[in-house]
Symmetry: C2
Subunit: 330 residues, 2 copies
């Protein structure tokens, strides 16, 4: 038996408290969504109407680029202007450890008594693509708690991370000088998703060279429309450049508001999200129809023994599942 506060019946009450800025209620709602609890869908549905007006800012970059410090500095700046801030920090580089969490607690401490600030961090959990989905859902709940700026922080190295950043209206790619030639590949990869570049740790050697590299890559990239991503130089630890970064976010936001660009971005986001949700829902239905762990284990065993050819088995299996049959052990 669960406590009344999180029973399905009381989701409207929980969300009522979330909307009034009750931090404990928010933490609870986020956990239920993150854990994919039975109430998760009802919570998300209740939060959904209160989303859409926050500016969603994605911040990505290689490990060690100083993203956390930059996010903190930007959050503090928004808070100083009385803007409410939510942060979703995702660290998929720690798939098995909870390493991110410790730093998280340290970061939270600074905002301990500030009801206008909320942060949740996540490491990879569960299956492929799960993290992008979960962070999108968590962002919905946090935004519904009357947050005006939503900062989505992740490590920009794989497809997963890029999918996370796709939640954002504005994407900031953080680079640091002197990370060597190996970083070039990474830079090329995330070049196309950047709306704003930040050169953090700008006091290090090589900042000019890095800016030149970005500029020369920009000369090659032509598909970005009329927006040429600016390069902002920061030292997040001292706050240098953060004001300029904030201004560039505002400038981009103004550009995005024109000609239906923001709408187009958000539509693209929801297209992908809905497809992913459909995929999840289908799998969960199939699980109910017998495609459970036991069944999969048996199939795995047969495939390794070469008793089954998976490429022939799967279409047959799916056909049976769609007909609502429980697939037997044969």
């Amino acid at each position: 038996v669960q406590t009344p506060a999180i029973s399905p019946m009381n989701v409207p009450e929980l969300i009522g408290r979330v909307r009034q800025g009750d931090v404990r209620a928010l933490a609870r709602a986020v956990s239920l969504v993150e854990d994919d609890a039975p109430q998760a869908r009802q919570i998300l549905s209740a939060c959904f109407p209160y989303t859409g007006s926050a500016i969603r800012i994605g911040i990505t970059g290689a490990p060690g680029a100083g993203k956390s410090t930059l996010v903190d500095a930007l959050a503090r700046r928004y808070r100083a202007q009385q803007l409410t801030v939510g942060v979703v920090a995702v660290d998929p580089t720690s798939p098995f450890s909870g390493g991110a969490m410790l730093g998280d607690r340290i970061r939270m401490r600074d905002h301990h008594d500030d009801p206008g600030f909320y942060m949740r961090s996540m490491a990879t959990r569960g299956s492929l693509g799960g993290l992008a989905r979960t962070s999108a859902d968590v962002a919905v709940v946090i935004e519904a708690s009357a947050k005006q700026r939503l900062l989505l922080e992740t490590v920009g190295v794989g497809q997963d991370e890029i999918d996370i950043v796709r939640l954002a209206d504005v994407t900031i790619v953080v680079l640091v000088p002197g990370m060597g030639d190996d970083i070039q590949t990474l830079k090329a990869g995330i070049m196309e998703i950047a709306d704003i570049f930040v050169i953090n740790k700008n006091d290090r050697d090589g900042a000019d060279r890095l800016e030149n590299e970005i500029r020369s890559m920009q000369a090659l990239a032509t598909e970005h429309g009329t927006w040429i991503p600016p390069v902002v130089r920061t030292i997040a630890t001292t706050g240098a450049g953060i004001e300029e970064l904030e201004q560039e976010v505002d400038k981009f936001w103004s550009w995005l508001a024109l000609e239906g660009r923001l709408t187009a971005r958000r539509e693209a986001h929801w297209r992908a999200r809905v497809l992913d949700m459909v995929r999840q829902e289908l799998l969960s239905t199939m699980r109910d129809r017998g495609l459970d762990d036991r069944q999969l284990a048996e199939i795995g065993r047969q495939v390794v023994l070469k008793q089954q050819d998976p490429y022939r088995l799967v279409p047959r299996l799916v056909e049976q599942l769609l007909q609502g049959e429980r697939h037997g052990k044969d």
Copy 2:
């Protein structure tokens, strides 16, 4: 009209040539699978019986760790022993650019006239999880062309990459000295998947310290059974340490062969693969039933306008799709 050589009718002939070591036929079969051509499933089904006897070696590590050079050195060593070698190199850090391909062509040149060696490299393409799936399928085709060693090379930073490495029987994690504290997170993340650690660029400062760090992390990790991953020091560019690496792979392979460990690993791999294949098959069926791009675009539009709550819409939509109805525009 396609050329006769790749028409569906001629898949048995194509695979016959693949098995006889015809490199052009192999390249063709791999491309058809990579492009998810209509013949892809038939090709995979025809190749499947000829898989299972190669040793699959996954090599992962941060960008710049020298994985490519290491893979080349290991491949050359195997070739010197008349062992046939296939390489699947995956670089998900370049999701939008084809940067990996250039280096690939340079690497291929060395083995140009060697029918016992085949390499294919891939960058991220398409949707979430697609790369892990495609590389698994490509590995099946390459292995069926009578390859005794299959090297799977990827950048070990996200969930995607870890899923790619899960194809392997043996997982080698490559680290380099002096990459700074930021790499710690990454090391913690891939700690648990390593069967063998390689410290490459061993002539750099900090190799001893790095080995000590690995050893002290190993002292904490207890879940690895009776196998304690060895640390092999290499300088891939000179070939130093490659012989020892090869020996450690053999040792691990012998350990894996005992007590059903290899079978258990491969069963786990196929469990996950079959589930993923089912997911794909379901989605493709749903597409045939009307959940196409046009439909998804319309849903995206309605969600952004708040005319639809996605969390309520999706269960309804899936129910309709499962009943075989075409979902209308309402």
